[in-house]
């Protein structure tokens, strides 16, 4: 709506001509100027500008919905808006049925912890027929780090759903539904995504996975707002809002993975909190502390954040951000059928512990028998 032409908004012709003469053509042009600037630029009185801006705003403003009609729409949209079950019972319950459609879900954790394993399992699940708990659709798997393994997909399938994968031709059909893209740059990635955005629904795509987002972005740290900007297509912010719009538009779950990097400084504090408190931090520092590679701006934008971490030789999956669930933590292992929770009763964690990413150097090297 932002690029709607002012000439089509039914302003009085005299006023519309003034806008056109100053090459203020779209709603975006007009509304990104303060009204006093507009008055000076257009040489119009305050009332005339106010009336014109009100009219442009009214037309540009998207229509509202009541929350009730929003809920009814969602329940009516049925299939395309279904959650993707992870078949990890505890996690599905905490998420209210699985990875929800229409929003971004993030997996973050150190390398080798099982993020890609989780993504592979999810793509298989989305491809499976509905009677096995799947979404019976296509999957677009964007593999930025060349970690996708079709052999592993089949292996997970054979071990988790033997009855399906032993049926003649089913393995081929399931694997055939997973489309893997390997973009080499962020620009290439957004370009291909823009192309397929409109055809996602048409092609029955039920899941979009990006493994990993940090891999695409890492060359472009955009944490600092005032840092010089590259082309718009390259910025994290642009990618973020684009992904969100894709998720909402097509009502499918989008899963992105994020890497971690070593935390260089102490945890950040607000000025009013005074200097960082030193109470129980000393013990924590013995373990290596990690933080998500994409910074705060990214973390604000994801709706669900799952942290995969290792601690005392045990791997955990933590529900670190969710509008529904209390902060829960589940121990898991990776075996031949993918990720398995050791218990479906998550442990509720207190406070900030849920959002720390722990990683003991040793833990990860104990290769689980496959």
């Amino acid at each position: 709506m932002a690029n709607k032409l002012i000439s089509t908004m039914g302003l009085p012709p005299r006023i519309a001509n003034v806008f056109a003469a100053r090459s203020i053509l779209t709603a975006k042009d007009a509304l990104s100027l303060p009204e006093s600037d507009l008055m000076a630029l257009l040489d119009l009185g305050r009332d005339q500008v106010a009336v014109a801006v009100a009219r442009i705003s009214e037309i540009t403003c998207p229509p509202y919905q009541t929350a009730l009609s929003l809920m009814e729409d969602r329940s009516r949209s049925g299939y395309s808006g279904r959650s993707l079950q992870t078949l990890l019972k505890g996690l599905d319950e905490a998420l209210g049925g699985g990875i929800p459609p229409g929003v971004l879900t993030e997996l973050v954790g150190p390398s080798g912890i099982g993020k890609t394993q989780f993504c592979l399992k999810l793509s298989l699940l989305a491809a499976l027929p509905t009677y096995c708990g799947g979404l019976n659709g296509r999957v677009i798997y964007i593999d930025t780090e060349s970690k996708f393994s079709s052999r592993r997909i089949i292996e997970i399938g054979e071990n988790s759903f033997p009855q399906i994968f032993q049926t003649e031709g089913m393995a081929q059909e399931m694997a055939g539904r997973i489309v893997v893209l390997r973009p080499t740059s962020l620009a290439e990635f957004t370009e291909s995504l823009e192309k397929i955005k409109l055809s996602l629904i048409q092609h029955e795509v039920k899941l979009l996975i990006i493994d990993s987002m940090a891999g695409l972005i890492s060359g472009h740290p955009r944490e600092n707002e005032s840092s010089s900007r590259g082309s718009k297509q390259q910025s994290l912010g642009w990618t973020l809002s684009f992904l969100k719009s894709v998720a909402e538009f097509s009502r499918i779950p989008i899963v992105v993975t994020n890497q971690v990097r070593g935390q260089s400084t102490e945890a950040f504090h607000y000025t009013f909190e005074g200097p960082g408190k030193e109470d129980n931090k000393a013990s924590e520092r013995l373990e290596s502390h990690l933080t998500a590679a994409l910074g705060i701006q990214w973390a604000h934008a994801v709706t669900i954040r799952l942290i995969l971490e290792a601690h005392s030789g045990q791997r955990y999956i933590k529900l670190a951000k969710s509008p529904f669930s209390p902060p829960l933590c589940f121990p898991f292992v990776v075996d031949s059928s993918g990720i398995i929770l050791l218990t479906d009763d998550g442990v509720e964690m207190k406070g900030q512990e849920i959002s720390t990413i722990r990683f003991q150097g040793q833990g990860i090297l104990e290769v689980q028998p496959i």
Binding site: L31, A54, E223, H269, E348
Partner: protein
């Protein structure tokens, strides 16, 4: 001495005034419309408009504050009694309400910031629900506008919170069965959801547009008592290239919101994201959008982690002292923090 440049008129009129020798407001105040029309070589109506605009600017300058001839002004005493009659919107947590002086205030703009996952959206949804608690039960019985710029509003969660809020209302008031039946028709989660007007905003242009349009919308929906923008930051933070212009556009936006809050006697709540800023040799957390933005909100609340607990800190308020309160986000929504000893802690 007020200058001609402070009058809200068009550039060409201003140029004509200056070239005709009208450089100060006082020089205009003695001019008659016909004289001005002749001097400026404009129509009589235009001259009248200029004089009107200049006298409006003049009023701010009135030496004596008696409100009869100063339209729209109020004495401090009137303001006080009006303030006392206003009810506040409860956040769901009594401790949080008490540092806010009873809850979120109407006629004011309140900014709420915090790190991802601290509960900003949760608080927003809670306020959209709580504003609807009927007057008889200590609420405002108003409706809510939710402007969602990030797509983070979860309608299923709003339903949960509404359900819990209704149960709490009945619990707190322990009202007889008869009355519950009378209210149960109105007090349904569905009707709460129906009274939340939801705008999904996908660019900063739309965000400016919706705020401009609110005036008209609110005139048609006078029972709206809260406008929540979640978040005010998102689009401005990534798409707006000219930072100086951004500051001015944001300034205009907050001015409009403040006027709306006053005019329709409603509360405006703006969610803001955090960013890191390098000051005095170390990185500090601070709310986004910069320093000049931080002047534009009447109240500012920062939600933060204190060890393992969620706290809210009143960072800025014209009359309340800075304080912090402990709160928690539960299945029912925002509530007072209870002793968490009974919960099992890992390790």
């Amino acid at each position: 001495m007020m200058e001609i440049s402070s009058i809200p008129i068009s550039a060409s009129h201003r140029a004509k005034l200056l070239s005709a020798g009208y450089t100060t407001l006082s020089s205009l105040s003695s001019a008659s419309p016909s004289q001005l029309a002749r001097d400026l070589n404009v129509g009589l109506q235009e001259a009248i408009d200029i004089l009107k605009a200049s006298s409006e600017s003049c009023r701010l300058d009135m030496p004596d504050g008696a409100h009869e001839f100063c339209k729209g002004a109020q004495t401090a005493w009137d303001m006080l009694s009006e303030e006392q009659a206003l009810r506040h919107i409860s956040t769901g947590s009594g401790d949080l309400d008490s540092i806010l002086g009873g809850g979120i205030h109407c006629k004011e703009v309140t900014e709420i910031g915090g790190v991802p996952g601290i509960g900003k959206t949760q608080l927003g949804i809670q306020l959209a629900v709580n504003v609807q608690i009927p007057y008889e039960f200590g609420g405002l019985g108003g409706k809510a506008i939710y402007i969602d710029t990030e797509g983070s509003f979860m309608v299923e969660r709003a339903y949960q919170i509404a359900e819990a809020s209704i149960l709490d209302v009945f619990d707190n008031f322990g009202c007889p069965l008869k009355e519950i039946q009378a209210f149960s028709k109105r007090l349904k989660p569905e009707s709460f959801l129906e009274n939340i007007f939801y705008f999904r905003i996908c660019s900063y242009t739309e965000q400016i547009a919706v705020i401009n349009y609110l005036e008209q919308f609110l005139a048609e929906h006078k029972d709206v008592k809260i406008v929540i923008i979640d978040s005010v930051t998102f689009h401005f933070r990534q798409d707006f290239e000219d930072l100086a212009l951004r500051t001015r556009v944001l300034g205009g936006m907050s001015l409009k919101l403040m006027n709306l809050a006053k005019k329709f006697s409603l509360s405006v709540v703006l969610m803001n994201q955090v960013t890191t800023k390098f000051t005095e040799g170390s990185f500090q957390l601070t709310l986004a959008l910069g320093d000049s933005w931080s002047h534009s909100c009447t109240n500012r609340v920062i939600l933060y982690w204190n060890g393992n607990d969620r706290h809210a800190y009143l960072d800025k308020s014209p009359y309340l002292r800075s304080a912090s309160a402990h709160f928690s986000v539960t299945g029912k929504g925002i509530r007072d923090a209870t002793s968490q000893c009974k919960r099992v802690r890992m390790m």
